[in-house]
C-alpha cells in the first residue's frame, strides 16, 4: 500500500503559533543562561515561567473558544513529510497544568536554589534552574507533539533533565538513585524507539493523526505497540517497573521531587494513552486493556501498602505516587468502550484525566509540604513529627487537603476523578476494578492519617531548626487548594477534555 502522499489533513490554525512559543520559551532560557554563565538564571527562569503561564492560558482559551484542535504545521511542511503540533482539550489542559505547577515549584525553590546578590551562581542552583527549564520544555513538547519520533526526542529531553535533577545536591545515595533511574530510562527509550521503527517500516508515517487511518490490527502493529508500551511503562514507573522511583523521588530536593512526581512520570503516561487511543484506535483488545489495568491495580495495592510501612515522610509520598499512577491505568479498560456503552467510556475518560490533573496538584503540594517540614525539623522521620502541626499549621493543613484528594474524599479533584472511574466500572460492568479503587482509597486514608496523626500530636520539646517564611506555606496551601477546587468544576472539564475527540463528544454526567 503506497501512502497517500497528497493527504492534506489540516493546516495551521490562527492561534497555532502559541504552541511553538510554549515549547521554545524554555529553550530560550536554557541558551541565555548558558551564554551568561548562569548570571540572572533564577530571574530569567521565573520571568519566562510567567510569560509561559500567559501563553498556556492563551492556548487553553483558544481551544475553549474554538471548540476545536489548535494546530501548527512546523515550517509549513505537511505530515507525513513534516511535523505538526496539535492541541486538543487534553493537551491544552495539560500545558496549563504544567505551567502552573512549574511556576509554583519555581517560586517555592527560590529559598533553596536562589542566587545571593552579587555572588557567583553555585553548581546546584545553576543545574536546578536549567534542568527545570529543560523539564518544562520537554513536557510541553510531549503534550503537544503529534509525531512519534518528535515525541521520542521530547521524551529524551524530559529524561535528560529529570535524571540529573535527582542528584542535583550531589549526595551519594541520590547518585545511586539517579543511576538506577537512568538505566531504566535507557531501556525505556530504546524500546519506544524500536516500536517507532516498526511503525514507520509498516505504515510509512509517524504522524499520529495519519496513523489512526492506516493502522490495521496485525502482528506488526501489536508488536510495535507492545514494545512502545513496555518502554514507556518503565519510564512511568508502573508496578512492577517502579523500583527506581521511590529512591529517586524521595532523594531529589523537595522542588525536584515535586516536579518529578507530579509531572515527569505523567509525560510518558500521556504517550501510552496517545498510542492506544489516538495512533492505534481499535487495537486495544479487551485482554490488553485488562492486563494494563491489572498492573495498575497491582500498583495501587502494592504502592499503598508500602507507603503505609515507610518511616520517612518523603519516601511515603514517593510510594504514594507509585500507587496513584496505578489509578491512571484504569482508563484503558474503562474508556476503550469495549461494552459499546459510550456514556461509560466518556465518564471513564474524563475521570482518568481528572485523576492525572488532581494528582499532579496534590502531589506537588505534598512534596512541597514535606520539604518545608523537613527543612524546619532537619529530618523527615514520621515518628518524630509530633508538634509540627502547631509549628507549621498552614503546611500541615495543605498536606491534609492534598491527602483528601489522594484518598478521594469530597469535595476534591481526586474525589470526582475516582467517583467517575467508579461510576464507569458500574456502567461497563467491570466491578472488580471498583473493589481495587475502594481498597486503595482506604489505604491512602491510612497513610495520610498516619502522617497527620503524628503531626498533630503534642511534643513540648519541639525546636525548629530553621524558621519557615509564611509566604512559602501559603504557596503550598494554594497548590493544595487547586487540587481541591478541581473537584468543584466537574462539568466543565468533561466537555473540554473531549475537544478534538469526536468519539468522546457526548456530554458526560447528565
Amino acid at each position: 500500500m503506497m501512502p497517500d502522499t497528497t493527504s492534506f489533513i489540516d493546516a495551521t490554525t490562527t492561534d497555532g503559533y502559541l504552541l511553538v512559543l510554549v515549547i521554545v520559551l524554555p529553550v530560550l532560557g536554557i541558551l541565555l543562561s548558558l551564554a551568561l554563565g548562569g548570571k540572572f538564571i533564577e530571574r530569567i527562569t521565573l520571568a519566562l515561567l510567567l510569560v509561559g503561564l500567559c501563553v498556556a492560558i492563551a492556548i487553553f482559551a483558544a481551544v475553549l473558544r474554538s471548540d476545536q484542535l489548535v494546530v501548527y504545521v512546523v515550517g509549513n511542511w505537511q505530515p507525513p513529510l513534516g511535523i505538526a503540533l496539535r492541541a486538543d482539550g487534553i493537551s491544552a489542559a495539560m500545558v496549563l497544568t504544567i505551567a502552573m505547577i512549574v511556576l509554583a515549584i519555581g517560586l517555592y525553590a527560590r529559598s533553596e536554589f536562589g542566587q545571593q546578590k552579587g555572588a557567583a551562581v553555585t553548581r546546584s542552583s545553576y543545574a536546578f534552574w536549567t534542568l527545570l527549564l529543560g523539564i518544562w520544555s520537554g513536557l510541553n513538547a510531549v503534550a503537544l507533539g503529534d509525531d512519534l519520533f518528535n515525541l521520542y526526542v521530547a521524551l529524551e529531553l524530559l529524561t535528560f533533565a529529570a535524571v540529573p535533577l535527582v542528584c542535583v545536591k550531589g549526595y551519594e545515595a541520590t547518585i545511586k538513585a539517579a543511576m538506577r533511574y537512568m538505566l531504566f530510562a535507557l531501556i525505556g527509550s530504546v524500546l519506544y524507539l524500536l516500536g517507532t521503527a516498526l511503525i514507520y517500516g509498516t505504515y510509512g508515517t509517524l504522524d499520529i493523526t495519519l496513523l489512526a487511518d492506516r493502522v490495521r490490527p496485525e502482528p506488526a502493529a501489536w508488536t510495535a505497540a507492545a514494545l512502545m508500551t513496555v518502554g514507556l511503562l518503565a519510564k512511568t514507573a508502573l508496578f512492577p517497573l517502579h523500583l527506581w522511583l521511590p529512591p529517586a523521588h524521595a532523594g531529589a530536593p523537595a522542588p525536584g521531587s515535586a516536579v518529578l512526581s507530579a509531572l515527569v512520570v505523567k509525560g510518558s503516561f500521556i504517550l501510552i494513552v496517545r498510542i492506544w487511543f489516538d495512533a492505534m484506535p481499535g487495537l486495544l483488545t479487551f485482554t490488553a486493556a485488562q492486563l494494563l489495568a491489572t498492573l495498575g491495580a497491582g500498583a495501587v495495592l502494592f504502592g499503598s501498602v508500602l507507603a503505609l510501612r515507610q518511616a520517612r515522610l518523603k519516601l511515603l509520598v514517593a510510594y504514594s505516587t507509585v500507587a496513584q499512577i496505578g489509578y491512571l491505568f484504569f482508563i484503558f479498560p474503562l474508556a476503550a468502550g469495549a461494552s459499546g456503552n459510550e456514556l461509560g467510556a466518556s465518564i471513564a475518560w474524563t475521570g482518568g484525566w481528572l485523576q492525572l490533573f488532581s494528582h499532579a496538584f496534590a502531589k506537588t503540594a505534598m512534596f512541597m509540604a514535606a520539604g518545608l517540614i523537613a527543612e524546619a525539623l532537619g529530618h523527615d522521620r514520621i515518628a518524630e513529627l509530633g508538634g509540627i502541626g502547631r509549628a507549621l499549621p498552614i503546611t500541615v493543613i495543605a498536606f491534609g487537603l492534598a491527602g483528601l484528594s489522594l484518598m478521594g474524599v469530597p469535595p476534591s479533584g481526586g474525589f470526582v476523578a475516582k467517583w467517575m472511574l467508579l461510576s464507569a466500572t458500574v456502567i461497563e460492568g467491570q466491578w472488580w476494578w471498583a473493589a481495587v479503587m475502594l481498597v486503595g482509597g482506604l489505604l491512602a486514608g491510612g497513610y495520610v492519617f498516619m502522617v497527620l496523626g503524628k503531626a498533630l500530636g503534642e511534643n513540648a520539646t519541639l525546636t525548629l531548626r530553621a524558621p519557615i517564611a509564611r509566604h512559602r506555606e501559603v504557596l503550598v496551601l494554594a497548590v493544595a487548594l487547586c487540587a481541591v477546587f478541581l473537584g468543584l468544576v466537574p462539568l466543565q472539564p468533561s466537555g473540554f477534555l473531549a475537544i478534538g475527540r469526536p468519539e468522546m463528544q457526548i456530554t458526560a454526567l447528565q
Partner: protein
C-alpha cells in the same frame, strides 16, 4: 547468490559475532575494543544499505566518540575489592528466552513486511528543490523535520549541563577532568600537530559538502571535536574551564542561530522554521556552519566530563 550478496552475508555474520563477543567478553576493556571494531563494521553495513550520511555519522559518533568516552570511563573506574557477580543462571536463562522471543518476533515482522514498502522518498524528492538543498537527508534534517533537529540540539546541551552538574561544588566552573597525560610522548605530540589542520579542513569540507552530498554538521562537528580532544590530550592546548566566556558562546551559537532563524520564519517566511525562498540555502548554511562549531565543542566537552579542578594544574 551474487558476489555482493555473499559479501553482505559475511558482513552480517561478522557483525553478529563481534556483537556477541562484545556482550560476553570477560573484561570491560576488551568489550570496548570490540565495540570499536563493531562500530566500523556497522559503518560498512550502512554503506551497503545506501545510507552514506548515516555511515559517516555512525563511524564518527557511534564508533568513534562513543568508544572514546567508554574507554575514558574504563580507565578512570576504580575496580571494586570484591569481584562483580552477574545475575544467576535461572535469571540468565529467563532473560535469554525473553530476548530470543523478542528477536524471533522482530524477525517475523521483517519477514512479513508488506511487499511494497511504504516510503516518503518520492515526496522528499518532489520537495527537494523547494527546500533549497541537494542532499535529501540534509533536507529532512534541516528543513522538513527541523523541529526534531532543533530539539535534539537542546538535548545535547542539557546532557552537557547534566554531566557538569555531577561536578563537586568546589570544582564548579573549573576544568573538566579529561584524562590528560602528564608527559605526552613525542609521537603523540607529533600526531597532535599534524592532524588538526587536516582535521579542520576535512570537518569544514564535511559540513560544506553536506548541503548537496552526504555529510553535514554532525559529521563535521565530530571531526572538529576529535582533533580538539587530540590536541588537549597531547597538552598542546589547555582544557578550558567551563565558565570561560568564549566556550559558553561557542556552545550556544549554533542552536541560537537555528532558533533565531526559525523564529524569524514567523515574519520573513510563512512559518516557524520555514526559510524564505531564494535565501533558503544561505540561511541553512549559516545554521549548519554555526551548528558544526557548537556540536564540535559540545561533543568534546561531553567526552571531557564534569569539571574536576579549578585551575590548570
Amino acid at each position: 547468490m551474487t558476489l555482493v550478496f555473499a559479501c553482505e552475508v559475511v558482513l552480517a555474520g561478522l557483525l553478529v559475532a563481534i556483537a556477541t563477543w562484545t556482550i560476553v567478553a570477560r573484561t570491560a576493556f576488551a568489550a570496548i575494543v570490540l565495540f570499536m571494531v563493531y562500530g566500523l563494521l556497522l559503518a560498512i553495513v550502512w554503506v551497503a544499505l545506501s545510507a552514506v550520511d548515516v555511515a559517516l555519522t555512525e563511524a564518527a559518533i557511534g564508533g568513534g566518540v562513543t568508544s572514546m568516552l567508554l574507554m575514558g570511563a574504563a580507565t578512570r573506574l576504580r575496580a571494586p575489592t570484591t569481584p562483580v557477580a552477574d545475575v544467576g543462571l535461572p535469571l540468565r536463562i529467563a532473560a535469554g528466552l525473553l530476548c530470543a522471543l523478542v528477536t524471533t518476533v522482530l524477525g517475523a515482522v521483517v519477514f512479513f513486511l508488506p511487499d511494497v514498502a511504504p516510503t516518503l522518498a518520492p515526496v522528499a524528492k518532489d520537495n527537494l528543490a523547494a527546500s533549497g538543498l541537494g542532499n535529501p537527508v540534509a533536507a529532512v534534517l534541516f528543513v522538513f523535520r527541523a523541529l526534531d533537529t532543533l530539539l535534539e540540539k537542546v538535548v545535547l546541551l542539557l546532557a552537557l549541563v547534566g554531566v557538569w552538574s555531577l561536578a563537586s561544588d568546589e570544582a564548579w566552573g573549573g576544568v573538566p577532568g579529561l584524562p590528560v597525560y602528564a608527559r605526552p610522548g613525542r609521537i603523540l605530540v607529533f600526531l597532535a600537530q599534524i592532524l588538526p589542520p587536516i582535521g579542520i579542513i576535512v570537518g569544514i569540507y564535511m559540513f560544506w559538502a553536506g548541503a548537496s552530498q552526504p555529510g553535514g554538521a554532525f559529521q563535521g562537528g565530530t571531526i572538529l571535536a576529535a582533533v580538539w580532544l587530540l590536541t588537549m590530550m597531547a597538552r598542546l592546548q589547555d582544557v578550558p574551564a567551563i565558565n570561560a566566556r568564549w566556550l559558553r558562546l561557542l556552545l550556544v551559537v549554533g542552536p541560537t542561530a537555528f532558533l533565531a532563524i526559525g523564529l524569524a520564519g514567523f515574519f520573513i517566511a510563512d512559518s516557524f522554521l520555514a526559510y524564505p525562498p531564494g535565501i533558503a540555502k544561505p540561511l541553512i548554511i549559516v545554521v549548519e556552519a554555526t551548528l558544526t562549531l557548537s556540536i564540535g565543542v559540545t561533543l568534546a566537552l561531553l567526552v571531557a566530563g564534569p569539571p574536576e579542578r579549578l585551575s590548570q594544574r
